[in-house]
């Protein structure tokens, strides 16, 4: 079963990350790399990507003439996707356990960030509209 683990934060959260020390960032990223290596070892890893900062985000709508209308202004409260992991795991509990590992990655001073990770299964092919 394929699951996606979504890491989201607001612009304020992203700004906060930039105040971490280099050493704290290194430890955080090293933990995330270790998790990925383990998942590659177990065959559960499908894909991971990090997204550019919210300031590079645009919202696009099609207009009547089919041309794109872009806007880059978002409410302060908007959650932005920062990155994701796609897993192929046997159970939902296994997906939650991996999300817990990611959530526990160290933050400033080595204290786990315990940041929430949203976990969703991919739509079944039969009901997948796209």
């Amino acid at each position: 079963m394929k699951y996606i683990l979504l890491m989201s934060s607001t612009q304020a959260g992203v700004t906060g990350y930039h105040t971490w020390t280099q050493s704290d960032r290194d430890k955080h990223m090293q933990t995330l790399r270790t998790v990925i290596e383990e998942l590659k070892g177990t065959g559960e890893f499908v894909a991971t990507e990090g997204l550019a900062q919210p300031k590079d985000a645009k919202v696009v709508r099609g207009e009547k003439n089919g041309l794109p209308v872009t806007d880059g202004i978002f409410p302060e409260s908007k959650e932005f996707l920062l990155g994701y992991w796609i897993l192929d795991v046997a159970t939902a509990e296994r997906a939650y356990a991996i999300a817990g590992r990611i959530s526990a990655a160290p933050g400033p001073g080595g204290v786990p960030t315990n940041m929430p990770i949203e976990v969703r299964q991919f739509a079944d092919r039969a009901t997948n509209a796209h």
Binding site: I4, G50, A52, G62, L81, A92, G100, I117, E118, R120
Partner: protein, 130 residues
């Protein structure tokens, strides 16, 4: 350049649309056609639809590292409904593709003109975060 096109939805709008079957089929056919074009132009990296928000869980690591799951979200939360990752020459091309997706037909065949968030994909954490 890789871009992620995100189709977000509020909980109230989530679920199988109550559109007539023919309208739903026209919508799906439109999206299939868009994906086929992007595959042929070599621009489609991946496209996935996610399960509905009622199956989403928020996972946080507890003190002992064990996952704590929760399925309660604020009413205002936007859920990712599906996404495309495209590999294109310019941001303008990514916006044009997003506008195509935005203009997918809804009930009665009228374009939905839904909002699509477009962000560059980093392939890893942004360099300034390392």
């Amino acid at each position: 350049m890789k871009y992620m096109l995100m189709m977000n939805t509020m909980r109230a709008e989530a679920g199988v649309p109550t559109w007539p079957r023919a309208d739903l089929q026209a919508h799906i056919a439109y999206m299939h056609n868009l994906n086929r074009e992007l595959r042929q132009s070599g621009e489609l990296v991946s496209a996935e639809g996610l399960s509905f928000p009622d199956r989403a869980r928020l996972v946080q690591a507890g003190r002992d590292g064990a996952p704590i799951t929760d399925g309660i979200f604020p009413e205002s939360k936007e859920f990712l409904a599906g996404f495309w990752i495209v590999d294109v020459e310019s941001p303008e091309r990514a916006y044009a593709i997003a506008a195509r997706a935005s203009a997918a037909p809804g009930a009665g065949g009228a374009p939905l003109n839904m909002q699509i968030e477009v962000r560059p994909v980093m392939g890893g954490p942004p360099p300034e975060m390392l």
